[in-house]
């Protein structure tokens, strides 16, 4: 009877397409919103993840997320280096100076000052130029999106000049840095240069980047650093999650996305569920005829389930395809770069759609099972 069930489902094209698109749009909305939500939160730790050279970040004990820095003492670097299990430790400066072009265009930048000797944390994904050229005086590497923001409509070009805190700097490389939470340009330079690109403060050391000795657990080294220096030490992954948790707790992002996702789920469930339920109700006469002919309740239940799961699968597939196309398009845009359709979102949405299908099926099955076959004689 499977073919009968599928023909019943697809026979009325308008109803069938209505059902499929209800599920597809619910799928699209859920996958879209959850992926963007996760992508934006992931951005809060982009610059942390881009540092692939070191495993541990050491910071002021009260630091909660990447953007929030309080300068450490220069002696803290030496104290961290003295902790058992530390292979090496280097300094990192983070500031937000304003960069200005000759044309007058300006933007606040995320300035990362790397250890002069090792250039630990230099951008590894370069589109133009070389990060090794950061050793040259007054040199910076700016990310692609930042370049486009500062020089809109102009081709990528090295040796262009910017002004930072009355200092003339040269672009020696263009990187493909991960998108930050805000659309600020991400600028890499040497530590000794960076402290001149921002206003002078008594201390400038933002972070100490640490690599544990081979075979020594990073979390254990973090514990030792905290015990011996009273500073905060976090592994890259821990620090990234600190940032995500901070934004979840202190911004309206989760509320906004939560409302959208909840509405998508409720509207999707109601629309898709009701559409399928009404589809079954409108076909009750046909189910009654099948019952009278001698099709068992079990078989009819199987038919309803087949119809529901087929519609669910088709709608889910179509919706996921639409979401994939959406992200494929937005991936090419600078402001939305890095936002991708996450497999976790697809899986979560699949679970939600399955729930919708099960609820709609149960309601529909109930109507079919209690249907009095003698009703077919009533015309």
């Amino acid at each position: 009877m499977n073919f009968v069930a599928l023909k019943m489902l697809t026979g009325d094209r308008a109803k069938y397409l209505g059902l499929i698109f209800a599920i597809a749009f619910c799928t699209f909305l859920l996958e879209n919103q959850t992926s963007i939500f996760a992508g934006i939160l992931k951005r809060t730790g982009s610059q942390i993840l881009d540092f692939t050279d070191a495993a541990i970040w050491v910071m002021d004990a009260k630091t909660e997320y990447f953007e929030q820095t309080k300068a450490l003492k220069d002696t803290d670097l030496a104290r961290v280096r003295g902790v058992d299990g530390v292979e090496w430790a280097v300094k990192l400066f983070k500031g937000t100076p304003v960069a200005r072009t000759r044309a007058g265009k300006f933007a606040a930048c995320i300035l990362l000052g790397l250890d002069d000797a090792t250039l630990t944390g230099a951008p590894r994904k370069m589109l133009l130029g070389s990060w090794q050229r950061l050793r040259e005086p007054d040199s910076i590497v700016v990310d692609n999106a930042g370049y486009i923001l500062l020089f809109p409509g102009e081709p990528l070009q090295l040796e262009r000049e910017l002004e930072m805190n009355d200092h003339k700097v040269r672009i020696v490389g263009i990187s493909d840095a991960s998108a930050p939470f805000l659309s600020n340009p991400v600028v890499h330079t040497r530590y000794s240069e960076a402290i001149n690109f921002v206003g002078r403060e008594r201390t400038q050391l933002s972070y100490v980047l640490v690599q544990p000795q081979p075979g020594v657990n990073a979390e254990e080294v973090c514990r030792r650093i905290e015990a011996q220096t009273s500073l905060r030490a976090r592994t890259t992954d821990q620090f990234r999650w600190d940032c995500i948790r901070y934004y979840l707790k202190n911004t309206g992002i989760p509320v906004n996305f939560g409302i959208t996702i909840t509405i998508a789920l409720i509207v999707g469930t109601v629309v898709a569920g009701q559409t399928f339920y009404l589809f079954t109700v409108e076909n009750l006469k046909q189910f009654g005829a099948l019952k009278a002919i001698g099709v068992t309740n079990w078989r009819l239940t199987g038919m309803v389930l087949l119809q529901a799961f087929t519609a669910g699968l088709m709608g889910f597939g179509l919706g996921t395809g639409m979401a994939a196309v959406f992200f494929e398009i937005t991936l090419r845009n600078i402001p939305t770069r890095g936002l991708i359709l996450m497999w976790q979102s697809v899986a979560l949405t699949g679970g939600c759609i399955l729930l919708v299908v099960i609820i709609a099926s149960l309601l529909s099955i109930r109507r079919v099972v209690v249907l009095e076959p003698a009703a077919v004689f009533r015309g």
Partner: protein, 238 residues
């Protein structure tokens, strides 16, 4: 082996009521018989209990009291699942409103009882097609119900009722939704195809214009069979 006088349906003191409080007595002690090889009409005014009797006989409704024997088997005592299987194997239905599945072609609609019984789809449809040919629907086998006339739809319904070669064919007001000429043609088909030495056919109708097709006419009124008569005006349609 059955002969023309073998009893196909025997109802003894059949009662059916609906509701608990102010209950409606639809059947009030019906005694009814239908024989193999005969076309039996149940006739009477609207609301007299004809369709309820048909529903109870075919097991679509449970009797409140009384016994039903179909081909010597007491079906009123069968468990629900066995009753469904019995119905699937032994009874073919023709409904007043045809009740064809709109998404299936004529041949697929006619094949449904075979498919429900587990026959492979292609074989079932082939058998249904040859039956449709016999019923004069050669060129309409692949048409959807919406593209068929009322008479053609009822012919498809007759094919669906006969395709699995049931021992009992029941028709509920088969001509009610049709004009007189089409109704005559449909009854002719029922008489010619549903009646068979090993099969009984029961038609519920209040359309007096087709009474002449009956072998036996059972008159019903107020939930009872009030008169059963052999039809002296029966015309041969075979």
């Amino acid at each position: 082996m059955n002969n023309g006088n073998s009893i196909a349906i025997a109802c003894h003191d059949l009662h059916k009521h609906f509701g608990n409080g102010a209950r409606v007595e639809a059947l009030r002690g019906v005694n009814f018989e239908a024989r193999l090889g005969e076309l039996t009409f149940i006739v009477g005014p609207s609301g007299c209990g004809k369709t309820t009797l048909l529903s109870v006989i075919t097991g679509l409704l449970d009797a409140s009291a009384g016994e039903i024997e179909l081909f010597g088997r007491n079906t009123s005592r069968l468990p629900t699942n066995q009753r469904i299987l019995f119905r699937r194997e032994n009874i073919g239905f023709v409904f007043q409103q045809f009740n064809l599945l709109p998404a299936l072609t004529a041949a697929e609609n006619a094949a449904v009882p075979l498919i429900a019984a587990g026959v492979k789809r292609t074989e079932a449809v082939d058998r249904a097609k040859s039956l449709l040919d016999r019923l004069g629907l050669e060129g309409r086998r692949d048409g959807l119900p919406a593209t068929l006339s009322g008479g053609e739809q009822q012919r498809v319904a007759i094919a669906r009722a006969l395709v699995h070669e049931p021992r009992l064919v029941v028709c509920d007001e088969p001509t009610a939704a049709l004009d007189h000429a089409t109704g005559e043609a449909v009854m002719k088909l029922v008489a010619a195809n549903a009646v068979h030495p090993d099969r009984a056919a029961v038609v519920v109708t209040h359309d007096a214009r087709v009474f002449h097709y009956a072998d036996v006419i059972a008159h019903m009124d107020d939930g009872r069979i009030v008169k059963t008569e052999r039809n002296g005006h029966k015309e041969s349609h075979l």
